[in-house]
């Protein structure tokens, strides 16, 4: 910045500043950029792909079953003759949506509960005991009960597929926020004793803004890490649910279901299980790298190195 800028144009400088700094740092993080490219590619593949590809994910062509890779079916077909590429694309939509939505839900819940428990001493005990309670709950029986009780009601409310989606996202979100909550609480406990929090209180900043301004930005790193891992867990939990018949209907493709369907044919057609697995791993890895880059970019101490 030149001297002239400080004198005349100065008032217009700071507002946009911080996020441009973040972007500048993010840009030079190679892993994050690569992750971003891969993730965007996967998202485009799943979102735009089904419109462009000629085959429908649910179309059964029994004469063309168990085919290998060919020009008409680049990834082959499954045991019912459905095109694997189309199923991968459609399955990706659901898996990505479930993964991201469940991640957002569980991170929000975990952060909220962690911050409240860490910052307000009075509700620390009850909230953390509740967290322990949730940690002690066995996941699968709980999901079983949930799907038994709620499936009908949600289906009538949102339609079968949307109802299933809501249920699975809620189920995964509600049963996976505890780790985040514990990590966040621990960090908040340490952060609230820092002098800048005291300084903010001496200024007269009310607790909600102390949390928003001083506490949350500083717990971002651990939250980011657990968020990226959460996506993977959510996608895999969804596949486990589908595998048990508690998730989406059997003919409804998701990456997790494609993997579990492919396992039966692992010897004859290994690509059928490996490919969706590869996509799950790629998604998780790319999101992880994006999170890594974001964390670095958001930390001014690392920025510019």
């Amino acid at each position: 910045m030149t001297d002239r800028a400080t004198d005349t144009a100065a008032p217009f400088r700071p507002p946009r500043n911080q996020w441009w700094d973040v972007w500048d740092q993010f840009k030079i993080h190679r892993g994050a950029l690569a992750g971003m490219v891969v993730f965007v590619a996967i998202v485009l593949f799943c979102v735009v792909g089904p419109w462009l590809w000629i085959h429908d994910a649910g179309f059964i062509d029994i004469r063309a079953r168990n085919q290998g890779m060919s020009w008409s079916h680049p990834l082959g077909t499954d045991q019912l003759g459905r095109d694997m590429l189309a199923r991968m694309m459609m399955g990706g939509r659901v898996s990505l949506a479930v993964g991201l939505a469940a991640m957002v839900l569980s991170v929000l819940m975990g952060t909220l509960i962690g911050v409240l428990a860490g910052y307000f001493r009075r509700i620390d005990g009850p909230l953390m005991r509740m967290t322990d309670l949730f940690l002690a709950l066995p996941l699968l029986p709980l999901l079983l009960v949930m799907s038994m009780l709620l499936r009908e009601r949600l289906s009538t409310l949102f339609g079968i597929e949307m109802g299933m989606f809501v249920m699975i996202v809620t189920a995964i979100g509600v049963t996976s926020w505890m780790q985040t909550a514990r990590i966040v609480r621990g960090d908040v406990l340490a952060l609230k004793e820092r002098e800048y929090v005291l300084a903010a209180r001496s200024i007269g900043t009310p607790p909600r803004r102390v949390i928003g301004r001083h506490v949350l930005p500083n717990v971002l790193s651990p939250v980011m890490v657990s968020a990226t891992l959460m996506i993977a867990t959510a996608i895999i939990t969804e596949s486990a649910l589908s595998f048990l018949g508690l998730g989406f209907p059997p003919d409804f493709p998701t990456w997790g279901r494609l993997v579990s369907d492919g396992i039966d044919y692992l010897q004859q057609h290994p690509s059928r299980a490996i490919l969706p697995g590869l996509f799950i791993s790629l998604t998780v890895l790319s999101v992880n790298y994006i999170g890594d880059g974001l964390r670095d970019a958001l930390d001014p101490r690392i920025r510019g190195r």
């Binding site: 400080t6 100065a10 008032p11 200024i203 900043t205 500083n218």
Partner: protein, 353 residues
């Protein structure tokens, strides 16, 4: 110096006890009496130094005066209003008049905020100014504390200790406070920077008519900056006097010991100086000794010290101390004169309570 100056801050019988929990059921088993019945006034525009060894409750006292902790007892009247009894919202509105400069400039600045955001935080909280006007004020403050305006978009980690402390001071000044608690603002800085920061504080005091409570364990620096000095020991003020009186004729044995520990620049006097070395450790503030707090380490301890807490009273104009030794010398003199003065601190406290 001209008009009769009023007391901006009146602290009376300030108490801050931290509960100690123990046992199987985490019941309260005692109190750490960090600040135990401290009273002092600060006149508008003056600097009151608060000295004492580590752990005597100086910082806690400073924070309690701003009600950063909930008080266990006593009153703190700032600008005529008792902040100990204000509601949270009233207190929030009162905050602009009283601010704080912290000890560790590294820890007191949020590493994720720019300098402009840090200095502007009080403005965000207490004004509804436009962004441009806030920025104007931020630049004004940066000028006042001697920071380059170009630094506004940098982060605290990019600064040296002295510069960080300037950021902290600018933040404290943002709302035009009347009273600033300086909680060991120079303890974490090296000597050359200490002088700069202290000079800056003095200059700002002159320019904006600030009142300081200057907490420090650096007796030399306190002598330089303060108008009056209070000496704390184990949660209580043992002596309070104008600078010259305190440094020339310390009355309390603890003050004498403390002052004898100040290094003398002149080697000739340094070698001949009588050094009072205190024995033992400071008693635990959760279990202070009976009688005078200092009786376990006092070189001139008497029987009465272990039984009765010495009253805190005025021994010379403006020179307060709490020690039985002084009362003894008093009682040798005409008895009529001593009587009324003996009751004085009680009346004083009664008025405030």
């Amino acid at each position: 110096m001209t008009a009769p100056r009023r007391n901006l801050v009146e602290v009376s019988d300030l108490k801050l006890h931290f509960p100690v929990y123990g046992g199987l059921l985490r019941r309260q088993v005692g109190n750490v009496k960090a600040v135990d019945g401290v009273s002092f006034d600060i006149i508008e525009g003056e600097t009151l130094g608060l000295v004492g060894e580590s752990g005597c409750g100086k910082s806690t006292c400073g924070r309690a005066v701003l009600r950063l902790y909930e008080l266990s007892g006593g009153a703190v009247r700032i600008d005529g209003e008792d902040i100990a009894t204000l509601s949270q919202e009233q207190l929030r509105r009162k905050r602009p008049t009283m601010q704080m400069v912290f000890q560790d400039p590294q820890a007191s600045l949020n590493p994720r905020m720019t300098v402009a955001a840090i200095i502007g935080e009080p403005l965000d909280e207490h004004t509804d100014w436009s962004r441009a006007r806030k920025l104007e004020r931020i630049y004004e403050l940066m000028d006042a504390v001697g920071l380059n305006r170009d630094f506004a978009n940098r982060y605290p980690h990019a600064f040296s200790g002295g510069q960080r402390q300037r950021i902290g001071i600018a933040r404290a000044l943002a709302l035009n406070p009347k009273f600033i608690v300086c909680d060991e603002p120079i303890a974490a800085l090296d000597v050359s920077i200490q002088a700069q920061v202290v000079n800056l504080l003095e200059e700002l005091q002159e320019r904006f008519g600030l009142t300081y409570l200057f907490i420090s364990h650096d007796l030399g620096m306190v002598r330089h900056i303060a108008d009056r000095v209070a000496v704390m020991y184990l949660g209580r003020i043992v002596e309070l006097a104008p600078v010259s009186a305190l440094y020339d004729t310390p009355l309390h044995p603890y003050t004498q010991a403390l002052l004898s520990a100040v290094p003398e620049p002149d080697p000739w006097t340094e070698t001949r100086k009588e050094r009072i070395v205190l024995k033992g450790d400071v008693p635990s503030p959760s279990n202070p000794p009976q009688g005078c707090n200092f009786c376990t380490r006092c070189p001139r301890v008497m029987d009465i010290c272990r039984r009765i807490d010495p009253p805190y009273r005025e021994h010379a104009p403006g020179h307060f101390a709490a020690c039985h030794l002084l009362d003894e010398t008093r009682t040798d003199q005409p008895k009529d004169g001593a009587r009324p003065e003996q009751d004085q601190p009680h009346i004083h406290q009664g008025e405030d309570a």
